[in-house]
């Protein structure tokens, strides 16, 4: 027999012994031996290739350890080799469920570096697409969250109908649905097509009814309450100290929204409100997202009504060489505070390109939220944080 065979046999033996220990621990119930279960990297609920290593005592989570990096594509390094404009498609692929928000954050940083003034029509179009993106992303987030609670895809498909309409609007505007590559430094790539505004009007007209449907289906659902209330709780203090942002932070009751706190693209001109939760549990996150969709629709209404005329793109050289310096711009992406930090050494490409991903930072609190709950709770909590693995690993 070869050594490889020996090793394999030994491994089998070990595996059997480990299994027997597991069974003993589970059956005797003295909890003497915790079980380590790897959720992922390929698992239905990890929303991509993300690995959660949980230590279980029976069904109770004792420890949760995140292992990330499976989707690392070295974006920040790649971006140092490309011009400022060429980097825009990368930002699509950082958070592929909110490409518009990522485009926007990056363009804002580049504009700050270059000192570009963005025309008002471009500003309004940017707000329009950022908010449409929020509607689409929250639809996805809430749908998958309820899937993680165990619903058999029905709410997800309902929400996908709306997301689909948003993606159709993206397609008719810029030709792409997911990785839009629409924003440019100094504005947007194309002006709005003629058919967009009527489509958007009918979308805005239909949405209140749709949202009422979802509320009827989900909000008073006793099982959803039982699964999500009091689960994955995080205190406002810990949330602030962990630098959480977005709906996860707002669900704890902290009214922090960059669109209000640090307005960009003329958000100060629109009337909208910031919904906050009370308990900081999974259900509050779900409710906050639902309420945010309504607020986004309000903003969209105002954007459509006050859409200014004029150029949609400022005159920016394609191979801009900004002065040496640095810039940081942040936006309220559907997942939280999304920031881009750019350093220029005077060359055509950024010297340093850094992204502050909200998913990654929101995820750091997962251990605090899930320890002490059951395995099923940990899954629900993970779903309620709404991570995008592309953004975590970049």
């Amino acid at each position: 027999m070869t050594t490889a065979d020996d090793t394999r046999l030994a491994m089998q033996e070990d595996s059997h012994l480990a299994m027997q220990g597991t069974i003993e621990a589970l059956t005797t119930g003295d909890g003497s031996e915790p079980v380590v279960v790897n959720l992922g990297p390929q698992h239905p609920s990890t929303h991509g290739v993300f690995r959660l290593k949980v230590t279980l005592d029976g069904e109770i989570v004792q420890d949760a350890e995140m292992r990330i990096g499976y989707l690392h594509r070295s974006m920040e390094k790649l971006a140092e080799e490309r011009t400022y404009t060429q980097n825009i498609p990368f930002t699509d692929r950082i958070d592929y469920l909110a490409a518009m928000s990522n485009n926007l954050a990056y363009c804002l940083a580049a504009e700050e570096l270059l000192g570009v003034e963005v025309p008002p029509r471009a500003q309004a179009i940017r707000v329009m697409f950022a908010e449409l993106q929020r509607v689409a992303s929250h639809a996805m987030a809430n749908g998958t969250f309820i899937n993680d609670c165990g619903a058999w895809h029905t709410p997800l498909f309902y929400m996908f109908r709306d997301r689909e309409r948003v993606l159709d609007m993206f397609e008719m505007t810029c030709g792409a649905r997911l990785t839009t590559n629409y924003m440019r430094i100094g504005g947007v790539a194309f002006d709005l097509p003629d058919e967009l505004l009527p489509t958007l009007e009918s979308f805005l007209a239909d949405m209140p009814e749709r949202i009422a449907d979802y509320e009827a289906l989900l909000m008073e659902n006793e099982i959803l309450h039982a699964r999500a209330r009091g689960v994955g709780v995080i205190s406002p203090e810990l949330a602030v100290n962990s630098s959480l942002s977005g709906p996860v932070l707002r669900a704890t009751g902290v009214p922090w929204d960059l669109r209000k706190a640090n307005p960009y693209c003329g958000y100060e001109d629109y009337e909208f409100d910031v919904p906050v939760g009370e308990q900081g549990d999974c259900f509050d996150r779900f409710l906050v997202r639902m309420a945010e969709v309504k607020e986004s629709l309000k903003i969209l209404r105002q954007v459509v009504d006050t859409l200014p005329d004029g150029p949609y793109l400022a005159d920016v050289p394609l191979h801009a060489r900004p002065e040496p310096g640095e810039a940081y711009a942040r936006v309220e992406s559907p997942r939280g505070e999304l920031g881009f930090y750019l350093v220029s050494d005077g060359g055509p490409a950024p010297y340093r390109f850094h992204c502050r991903p909200p998913s990654l930072i929101n995820l750091t609190a997962l251990k605090e939220m899930s320890v002490g709950g059951t395995l099923a709770d940990a899954i629900v909590t993970l779903g309620s944080i709404d991570i995008v693995v592309g953004e975590i690993d970049r």
Binding site: S15, I23, Y158, G253, P275, V276
Partner: protein
């Protein structure tokens, strides 16, 4: 019953499709003319088994299509529509795909025990069909302890599930098997108690006897014992691993539970048995609580098995509906719901059934008057029990409503959070709570 039997003897020719038993009776009588007695009984048994297999096999294929199509319609999509007319051949295509796939087994699996479950799981799945009465004389085995047989046979499936989960040497599979065992054992208790209500009240353990009782008294059991019906429905959907109780193969938590490691047709067999069990349990719910093959005299004109199939389809649709709509409960919630709500409630109704039965038997109450009164009383009791449960047994976090406030001008950190929380005005959105 008597006039129906009379009709059967008049129209009892082999082509009388209202009662498929006629054909079989003719064959056995023909054998009895020239052959030994044992041959006739063996042929009868084989014919019955073949009949069941011939019904179950194609029905499963159709069911896969039906379930996928109905779920698709719930989910605003078309469902299978490519293979064959209306996608009807999709299950065949799936089966061919599954058969052609490689049958993987984990290296460290316990081989023999790993191979057996997909086959063994079929045994209880098929055996149960034997006691389902499709008509007055149309069950393969009309046992006088049919209810006992049903519970005993369906209880063995959990052993097979545990074999599958243990032998896979996979933690998800083991968790799934553990959950399945815990849940099956727990939910068998309310299931037994719910059936005990019927057994006590109708005074028979024969499944056909229970249907005949409903026919005789002109009432279906769901009206007399609604809570037993609800409890049986929920317990059955828990035993079947269907949402909202599909924790033993909770996809979002433990991938596929006990059959995570099974690939190809082995997975297909688990899947098929699951569907078959769903169908047969729908059939039993229809039989026990909805009157089975009997429908207020209509069964004299429409073949009884068509009536049963129609009722089964209705129950099955309800099962698909719950599956398509509801999220899943957690294991501790399911357990506490079983032991704290279903078991006491069904036990209460066993006592109620005893009392009411005594009133009819010993006190000589006239059933035509007593049954409606009892039905009204029991329905009121059921509603009361459900409302009491909703008030008393809700877990603490659910008592408070979840509230969403609007921050307004207060934007900032913890201090702003306190400001928003301390506002007196009504919150924007308030859901749940007592």
């Amino acid at each position: 019953m008597t006039d129906l039997a009379g009709l059967s003897s008049v129209f009892g020719a082999w082509y009388d499709f209202r009662d498929l038993n006629n054909l079989q009776r003719l064959i056995t009588e023909w054998i009895a003319e020239w052959g030994p007695d044992w041959l006739a009984s063996i042929v009868t048994g084989v014919l019955g088994a073949l009949g069941i297999l011939a019904v179950v096999g194609p029905t499963l294929l159709i069911l896969i299509w039906v379930e996928r199509k109905v779920i698709s319609r719930f989910q605003q999509r078309y469902g299978p529509n490519r293979v064959g007319p209306k996608g009807l051949l999709q299950p065949v295509a799936d089966a061919v795909k599954l058969i052609l796939k490689e049958q993987l087994a984990p290296r460290a699996a316990d081989k023999l025990i790993f191979f057996l479950p997909p086959v063994l799981i079929f045994v209880p799945g098929i055996l149960i069909w034997g006691v389902l009465p499709f008509g007055p004389r149309m069950s393969v085995a009309d046992l006088n302890v049919g209810v006992l047989f049903l519970l005993a046979v369906s209880g063995t499936a959990v052993l097979v599930i545990f074999m599958a989960g243990w032998s896979s040497n996979n933690k998800y599979a083991l968790f799934g098997a553990m959950r399945a065992v815990a849940m099956s054992i727990s939910y068998e208790v309310p299931m037994v108690l719910a059936l005990l209500t019927l057994v006590v009240f109708s005074g028979t353990m024969s499944i056909n006897g229970i249907v005949e009782w409903q026919q005789q008294e002109d009432v279906i059991f769901i009206l007399l014992f609604p809570l037993s019906a609800i409890a049986f429905f929920f317990a059955a959907s828990a035993e079947l691993n269907r949402t909202p109780a599909d924790i033993s193969e909770a996809e979002s938590e433990i991938v596929a539970g006990y059959h995570t490691e099974y690939s190809g047709m082995r997975f297909g067999l688990f899947y098929a048995v699951e569907l078959g069990n769903t169908l047969v349990v729908s059939g039993f719910i229809a039989t026990f609580f909805l009157g089975g093959w009997w429908l207020w005299g209509l069964d004299q004109w429409v073949p009884s098995w068509i009536i049963l199939l129609a009722k089964t389809a209705a129950v099955y649709f309800l099962l698909i509906w719950t599956r398509g709509t509801l999220p899943r409960l957690r294991i501790d919630q399911l357990m506490s719901f079983c032991w704290k709500a279903l078991v006491p409630a069904t036990l209460l109704f066993v006592v109620v059934a005893f009392v009411e039965r005594t009133l009819i038997l010993s006190e000589g109450w006239d059933t035509t008057v007593a049954l409606p009164i009892m039905a009204v009383f029991n329905i009121a009791l059921t509603l009361g029990a459900i409302m009491l449960f909703a008030r008393v047994a809700r877990p603490a976090p659910l008592r408070r409503p979840a509230r969403i406030r609007m921050a307004g001008a207060d934007i900032g950190g913890l201090r702003a959070a306190r400001d928003v929380a301390s506002r007196r005005e009504e919150p924007q959105l308030q859901v749940g709570g007592d």
